[in-house]
């Protein structure tokens, strides 16, 4: 999408959002004002926006990673949940100084998400099954498994909610700004974006992934093993989303709760597309969507616009951006 048509599209979305606010009986100016104030109005608001940016950045990078390799990973949500579950279990049971425990918790999250991604990757690589259908199903299975475990066998004694036992304070991610929920997870996400940008642009592995996505037939003739690439890409994509789940557990909730994600894995698809599947532009897109996420509650409280209007607009954005040509686009292959 060129800059000009992008601006027109953004203006249309803003107009629709204003219309929705008017339908809800609110003054659109007051609605947008409350949204921006809630997201950027002070140190506390800005830090919360960055918390949301971070939460979106991991699954968005995961989606972009798979899409670049020509794989439709619609399953970042499920991978994030399984990653969070693994991290929550590791964090609650493994007590060690933070310098040891935190890497273990994050690795557990990446492992969980990676395993979940690998299931879809295996179905694709080994059986030619559609990763779209597989990841859609795995999202729901992840939610059911998590719900079963934390309400049933893994439910922490003396805890009311559907959650695991809390992590010891020593295992919490260090906070960047005292008194806020902004942790080093932001730095980790930014480093990951920079790293992925480098991998795509400068490494043989990144080239192979892009080739498999852009021109699978040519890639195969050039000796790239498409099956192996599909499995590796889905696994790593899942691991990135799972790492994001782990940072939510160790940085924000300090335990695994079934309400870990309000749909970050789905919004991530919009973020990845707005960012043009380019890791560095995705950082900016994640910040923009972070503003929507963190400002929507203030908008609801002050301007009486139901916060769900944000999901509606995000959905519209995805539909509009789906017109982008996906080079690896093909049938669903099942």
């Amino acid at each position: 999408m060129s800059g000009r048509s992008g601006a027109i599209f953004a203006a249309v979305l803003l107009a629709i959002a204003a219309g929705a606010m008017a339908i809800a009986g609110a003054n659109p100016i007051a609605g947008f004002g409350a949204l921006l104030h809630g997201a950027l109005g002070g140190e506390r608001q800005l830090s919360e926006t960055l918390v949301q940016t971070t939460a979106l950045l991991f699954p968005s990078l995961a989606v972009a990673f798979a899409f670049r390799a020509g794989l439709f990973n619609i399953g970042a949500e499920g991978q994030l949940i399984v990653g969070g579950l693994f991290a929550g279990l590791a964090g609650a049971s493994f007590v060690a100084p933070g310098i040891v425990a935190i890497p273990v918790i994050l690795a557990a999250g990446a492992l969980g998400g990676g395993l979940w991604g690998a299931v879809a990757g295996t179905l694709r690589a080994r059986f030619g099954g559609s990763e779209v259908i597989a990841t859609l199903m795995l999202n729901i299975i992840a939610a059911l498994v998590a719900n079963y475990l934390v309400v049933g066998p893994l439910h922490a004694a003396g805890v009311a909610g559907p959650e695991t036992a809390p992590l010891p304070v020593s295992s919490w991610l260090p906070v960047l700004l005292p008194g806020t929920r902004l942790t080093i997870a932001l730095l980790l996400a930014l480093a990951l974006a920079a790293g992925l940008s480098f991998v795509f642009a400068r490494t043989v592995f990144g080239y192979e992934l892009r080739a498999a996505g852009d021109a699978p037939a040519a890639a195969e003739r050039a000796g790239i093993d498409l099956r192996r690439t599909a499995l590796v890409a889905m696994t790593l994509s899942g691991a990135i989303a799972g790492l994001g789940g782990a940072t939510l557990v160790a940085g924000v909730l300090h335990r695994f709760n079934v309400a870990l994600s309000p749909g970050y894995g789905f919004i991530a698809i919009a973020v990845a597309l707005v960012g043009g599947l380019d890791p560095l532009r995705i950082v900016l897109a994640a910040f923009a969507f972070g503003i929507l996420q963190s400002g929507s509650l203030t908008m609801q409280a002050l301007a009486h616009v139901p916060k769900d209007v944000v999901a509606f607009i995000e959905g519209l954005a995805i539909v509009g951006l789906s017109a982008r040509r996906f080079a690896g686009s093909r049938g669903d292959g099942h």
Binding site: F72, S130, L144, L316, A317, D332
Partner: protein
């Protein structure tokens, strides 16, 4: 005997919305549109039905509104996929998010409080029964229509070889749009069944992934109306069994997960090689 009759009845009640949505999936996919917005179609239909019944006091108006809402949502996918060559999977994901956000927003705007609507005039037990019979009748009609009519041949050709349809002087893109409108109407009807047939209100998230179970039923039923209906009835029976087995200590989540696990199994081909229409999900650009 009473228990068995009750179980069969519950099976049909649980299966009906899945049948409508699965038939929607079959119609769209056989025409070459991979419609993962079935969940959104169910949501839109269920919500619009309750909103219209609330506004007019007539559940029949609700029924019509639900069908139209489903057709509108999935028709958007059809138009976007044929006129703007969007990626169907990404657009479908967007439509699901749009429907979830739009209805959550709509609950507050129409009914004044978040979460759920008040009780409205519903179709009642009789209406529920009529819709179940309609679902089964539609399955048979679609099977016969797809197999034995010129309409069915054209629609299937769009899903296998749209270029041939063009050579025959027909516009495959137009046929695909009509297929998504018909599919969307069916998905909307599934939503109507949920909100005005089985219940008499709309609540957030009440479709609970049925649109995705329907996608699984389509694969299991090998893209045929009767096959998908059979799979939907099987999944309905699992859902009905859940109430029985839960009392015996089987975790309900396991029962709920079975349709999705079955879909994963179908992808491995162990239940026999299932083949999607050749041009399923492939944009047509003459």
């Amino acid at each position: 005997m009473g228990d068995i009759a009750g179980f069969l009845q519950l099976t049909l009640v649980k299966a009906a919305p899945l049948i409508f949505a699965a038939l929607a999936g079959v119609v769209c996919e056989r025409a070459g549109i991979l419609n993962i917005a079935l969940e959104g179609g169910l949501t839109a239909g269920a919500f619009a039905a309750v909103a219209a019944s609330y506004a007019t006091g007539s559940p029949i108006a609700g029924l019509v509104a639900g069908i139209l809402a489903g057709a509108l949502l999935c028709g958007l996918l059809g138009v976007a996929a044929t006129r703007f060559n969007v990626d169907q999977i990404v657009a479908g994901t967007g439509l699901n998010l749009l429907a979830a956000g739009g209805t959550a927003f709509g609950i507050v705007v129409v009914f004044g409080a978040p979460g759920a609507s008040p009780e409205v005039h519903a179709l009642g037990t009789q209406g529920e029964g009529v819709l179940i019979v309609a679902a089964l009748a539609l399955a048979l009609a679609l099977q016969l229509g797809l197999d034995g009519t010129a309409w069915g041949l054209r629609l299937r050709a769009c899903g296998e070889n749209p270029r041939a349809v063009l050579s025959a002087g027909l516009d495959p893109r137009r046929i695909r749009v009509y297929a998504t409108l018909l599919g969307g109407a069916l998905a909307g009807l599934g939503g109507v069944f949920l909100s005005l047939g089985e219940l008499d209100l709309y609540s957030d998230g009440m479709t609970a992934g049925r649109g995705f179970i329907a996608l699984a039923a389509v694969i299991f039923g090998r893209w045929t109306p009767l096959g998908a209906t059979g799979a939907a009835i099987g999944f309905g029976a699992l859902s009905a069994l859940q109430f029985v087995l839960q009392r015996a200590g089987v975790p309900s989540e396991l029962m709920q997960a079975l349709p999705y696990l079955a879909a994963l199994a179908a992808l491995t081909g162990i239940v026999g090689r299932a083949r999607a229409p050749k041009a399923d999900g492939v944009p047509f650009d003459p």
